[in-house]
């Protein structure tokens, strides 16, 4: 940096008033990259166990969900289920936000009020979808 005089600085994140569009923007990245690592590795573990045979698959199910010969849940089952719930929330968040981006790509939704209301919907809807999905799953299991 040769010139360090009193030149105007580019405004950075903290000078802007926080809004829903900023929240869904960073959530989109966080959820997407989270799924890219945690979700993809779990997907590969699942397929790898299935392709390795009944014992490997039983061991996978026993670690993540519930051992077939056990009536109660182990510590890893609780962690596994929490990760699965987190992944579905991440999926719904990233999908809703992704649909918003596809619509924005068409040139629509840049009016301030429209942009704000889409962002609020994208922030709230995924939590609702996740709750409905998991209530349905555990309702069926009970």
């Amino acid at each position: 940096m040769a010139q360090t005089g009193k030149r105007p600085l580019s405004p950075h994140l903290q000078v802007y008033r926080w809004g829903p569009h900023m929240l869904v923007s960073i959530l989109h990245r966080a959820m997407g990259d989270g799924m890219a690592i945690v979700g993809a590795l779990l997907f590969l573990w699942w397929l790898g166990a299935a392709a390795s045979g009944p014992e490997a698959y039983q061991s996978f199910v026993g670690i993540i969900w519930q051992a077939p010969d056990s009536a109660s849940l182990s510590v890893t089952n609780w962690i596994g289920r929490a990760v699965l719930i987190g992944l579905t929330l991440a999926f719904f968040q990233h999908a809703a936000s992704g649909i918003r981006h596809l619509l924005l790509d068409t040139g629509a939704g840049y009016e301030l009020k429209t942009n704000r209301s889409w962002s609020v919907i994208v922030a709230i809807l995924p939590a609702l979808f996740t709750a409905i999905l998991w209530i349905a799953i555990f309702w069926g299991a009970l």
Partner: protein, 132 residues
């Protein structure tokens, strides 16, 4: 080459010389991911895959194996593009950035080939295994 004007040859390539390929692929795989992930979630929720035989019986059918393979291709393409941007944005040192991008290449291609091999193995050997 030799065909077209100079302008015609560079149009759409931009300053990075790779043009809009990344942007387009990100969106095309996003649409595919959306459809295929809804299929996967519906399949997992509506079926009981707690035993190996149940899963293999399902995944050995073409109607399940083919979408699963397409899902793997679309997801690993999409995550490679997404993580590439993450690295480009947040990893600033040239050496660290290069190493991260190489690691990502290995991860995304290794993961994809692993997934496709597993799906193919179940699809081609599945019926014989379950029949026992």
């Amino acid at each position: 080459m030799g065909s077209g004007t100079r302008l015609g040859r560079v149009r759409g390539l931009g300053s990075a010389r790779t043009g809009t390929h990344h942007w387009t692929m990100q969106r095309v795989t996003a649409i595919a991911n959306l459809a295929l992930m809804v299929w996967l979630i519906v399949s997992l929720v509506t079926s009981d895959f707690s035993t190996h035989a149940d899963l293999v019986r399902w995944l050995s059918k073409p109607i399940a194996a083919v979408p699963m393979a397409l899902l793997a291709i679309s997801v690993f393409t999409h995550l490679r593009l997404g993580l590439t941007v993450l690295i480009e944005d947040y990893v600033h040192g040239e050496a660290a950035k290069l190493a991260s991008l190489v690691a990502l290449t290995f991860y995304s291609w290794g993961g994809l080939i692993f997934a496709l091999f597993c799906i193919a193995k179940i699809a081609f050997a599945g019926v014989a295994n379950v029949g026992q």
